[in-house]
Symmetry: C3
Subunit: 139 residues, 3 copies
């Protein structure tokens, strides 16, 4: 069984955002899957998806602080800066963090660890809505 | 055909560890799969999985040296440090390296390159056992 | 339906290369897939795959500049340097960027965002041909 849909998430401010519950709301068919995988894919090059700690909001703000330091908005380093100093840095962060997460499904639920949640990582200062494709392969 | 199981790997010291053979021991059903994919997923936010060189142990120690330098344990950078200076840094390394690897299956075997092996990356100083979900989708 | 093949891409100079069209040429069967996933996997530890901006070539050269700065070829940092200063750095970049990309398939086409393309990231100075496994799971 394969099910697939495309959704649009509302614009979010720059930073790391926990979206597990929002994603789950879109896939009620999950409860019919005994075993399988869900692939969540972001159709952009300036925002990414990752899995990380779902409890302390300081993890998300520390992630933003760290990655903004790791990929500094120093125009002298980059040629691709037409859209601003957050343009090329967003592309780089996207490739470091990745454009998809894949999570096992077991007995109708995401089989995440206790502390794992899905993060949308918005790297642009003004990012706009983000399109996501969710594909479930299971039985 | 979908097969899925959850296993627990014994605690390992901080660093990068080659676990290909240990994973293979858990999936004897691989030999019945002509073509497909195996998804290996770690249910944690302070340890990760990656593919890298399976021969020289110095690659693993160089990886540990590099990533510990890339994400320094400098408490002044982070707010989320309740569990120690290796807490937030472990979350960051997990998102950089990723929580799953997906490998093609061909004629009953993992279709890895000659030099590729599966690494468990333990980012905590005292990490405990690690839970892994292995999902095979194939025919 | 599962289809799988192994291809060899010609040697490329060190840097980031857009290979979307080349990959598409190898998978004409894509047009028969209504919904599914394609997994593209590189069988190497010194080259990687990622998704990023498909338009401005400066994104690719900025990526090369950035990652070469992020992982400096400083022999004093690494033990695994038998094959040169670009040896261990290539392994590290491979684990940061990843060895596979997974893209949704919809109505016979890759469901990529407008600006997304597939990059081959060649991290070695003289990398040789690169082997890629393409697996399609769909219906």
């Amino acid at each position: 069984m394969i099910s697939q849909q495309e959704i649009t998430l509302k614009p979010r401010r720059r930073g790391f955002h926990l979206i597990t519950d929002e994603i789950l709301n879109y896939i009620p068919e999950l409860k019919n899957v005994t075993a399988g995988l869900v692939h969540i894919f972001i159709k952009h090059t300036s925002a990414s998806l990752t899995l990380n700690e779902n409890a302390d909001p300081a993890v998300r703000s520390d992630m933003e602080k760290y990655f903004s330091r790791l990929v500094p908005e120093d125009a002298s380093l980059f040629e691709h800066t037409l859209e601003g100093t957050d343009d090329m840095t967003s592309h780089i962060k996207t490739s470091i963090l990745g454009t998809s997460v894949i999570i096992p499904i077991k007995n109708g639920k995401l089989n995440l660890g206790t502390w794992q949640g899905i993060y949308l990582c918005e790297h642009r200062n003004h990012g706009g809505p983000r399109n996501i494709v969710i594909t479930i392969i299971g039985e």
